[in-house]
Amino acid sequence: MTEPALELIGIDKHFGSNHANKSVSFRVQRGEVLGLIGENGAGKSTVMNMVFGYLKADHGQILVHGHEVDIKVPADAIAHGIGMVHQHFKLVDTFSVLENIILGSEGAFQLADRLALARGELAELSKAFGLNVDLDALVSGLSVGDKQKVEILKALYRKADILILDEPTAVLTPDETRHLFDILRQWRDQGRTVILITHKLKEVLAVTDRVIVMRRGAVVADLDTAHCTAEGLAEHMVGRPVILQVSKSVAVPGGDVVTLEHLSVNDSDGIPRVRDVSLSLRAGEITGLAGVSGNGQSELIEAIAGLMPISHGTIRFRGQDLGLGGSAESVRKRREMGIAHVPEDRLVRGLIAELSARDNAILGRQNDPSFNNRNFLRPSAILNHCRSLMASFDVRPSRPMQAGGHFSGGNQQKIVLGREMENAPAFLIVGQPTRGVDIGAIEFIHKRIVALRDQGAAILLVSAELDEILMLSDRVIVMSQGAIMGDIPASQADERQIGLWMAGDHKVAA
């Protein structure tokens, strides 16, 4: 039997009091795509950052092709043929693609000759792997998919044999994801090794040969992908059975709650983001808004919430014209009327990371008489409110005085969701409800959204995860370039048709 490409033995790492990796050991063979999965904070990125020399382990051994290696800095890892594509790309925006790729492997003190040589080598590599990127383009102007190609080219150019990818598909469209997986399979078929860090079970099942599951810093399972199911993997990740499918009854839609008539929204530069959207959202129904990120979904929900002014058309809530919006006043009024909003980016608009959970739990409701006696806040009422919110939304740890930023993604989201849902709003806008949220919490959040629907609220759901939209919605709307491309009951939704609409294909099925 040949030596494993990479073997970890007893890797241990502490960050202060946080035991991030507990004696992690596993092997990766040559010609294998390994999935490394686990919830946020399970320690999967940490352990790979140590293999790459970006962090240093407290204890443990790393063996590459059977030989123990001492990896202190990324240069050591690169020398041993290890390449890593980080979740947040490590590229210099003001450099060309070529300059980014040769950075650190320039070869000689003078650049000129080496650049020409690299150009030739890279042309071959990109042809062999189907990684077509203009080497002279500035990185700042590239799409995320192209930036990722540059990162992979960087690893290839350094003759990496073991490629680690950290959540590579988080920013990709379904099509780009498929293309990436083709590249990874090709990499594997050449006898090289891929380690894919992800939390998306569907992708693990699609592309990996073997799966390592981590939970709370330790390896809890090492499985052949062929024998895995999504439910089984999820159970390993969370440590208890998880229901991935939301059980929900058929919707019983009521009357129109929100009506948009020929709505257009321009951004602050005057560029149209939402174009002539007409739409009715009904009580007791979840309307899922699908589309590739940046096609007007964010602007549409911000306009309805009152954060962005509209340029044409009207927004009606229970028949009442809401006006232009775009001011603090309009947001406050709409909230008071019963429009709740769970923003897409919880750390930008949903929470204030530095404020305690107690204060975050009344954000936007600080003038509510139950929290405020005209001049002063009522600390004990606010504290009790937070305690009961934490209990009913299962926020952990249930420490009201802990800063918002110190909760995990899922628990932050539960605080926001709890705050927005507790007053039984007539209309709820939810943006990316489960982005960066653990599987266990996803289940909980989905249940609560469905429960609110069953109480008769109209819900507008925006998500970059098409699976989430298809699972949760009663009706699916697809946006592309600011306009609505398709509108279909979820029961009849077909993923292929939706993909075409997302790509901007206007031919609506009759």
């Binding site: 950052n49 970006y54 962090l55 003001t94 950075l103």
Partner: protein
Amino acid sequence: MDDFITVSLALAAGSLRLAIPLMLGALGGLFSERAGIVDVGIEGKMLISAFASAAVAHATNSPWAGLAAGLGAGIVFALIHGVGAIAFRGNQVVSGMALNILAAGLTVTIAAALYSQGGRTPQLPDAARFRGTSFAAADGTSQLDPALRALFELVAGHNILVYLSLVLVPALVWLVHKTRFGLRLRAVGENPEAVDTAGIQVATLRYQASIISGLLCGLAGTYIAIAQSASFVPNMTAGKGYLALAALIFGKWRIWPTFFACLLFAFADAAQSRLQGLNIPGIGAIPVQFIQALPYVLTLVLLAGLVGRAIPPKASGVPYVKER
């Protein structure tokens, strides 16, 4: 007409002389900031070098020893800033200002203790200075045509440091844009994580940039003390370090534009000394203070109005902390 040519040539020579310390300081700042370390301590580095070079030139009677001391002092101060910014991840504006304050106090205190001349160093003999060539006879007269003499002095009359500095500009352009070091330097000021994950030590690179910054500011200080003058005088840099920083911003952190910005500022400075006592018909003599303020007013106007959007290196001023 001849007179006009003579005056113009003399003005050009004066501008060049005044531009050299600005340019060296600004280029020093450029290396630091392109590496991601904000450099408000240019003034302090120049001042301490001015003192060190004058003191050592006085002690050894050698301008070269003075130069070595000036460069050394510049490096030491740059490394104080570097350690604060790189190892201790301190606030770089605060640490830069600390250099300026430290230099202002330290130089005068040591000079007063050593020489008891009110914070000055003793007047240097010609042999201990970098001197230009004069095209006049010892009694100040010359057989040359005044315009021709002015031309000679513009082209060949400067001290060696002027020529050295002028050669440095294209050399540094080559270093920054055509070499491995330059590529890494530009990268680390934009995205240190890209540099780190490419297998390059961020700290080492930033220390190297700090040292270059110290060398260039040291050269600037040396020039001010033992080439332009013949002794150290308290606060003799007189804000040139800040002016250099302004030129760096005006030049948008690029070498040639920064160089021309320095020439422009220096020209305003040279012109103001010629404009003093000027009579404008109908208004009369302009108070000298207004004329002296001209270069600073020019700086303000340029920076506030004409520079457009100056985008500094993205990582400038941000200590590098690894992501978990």
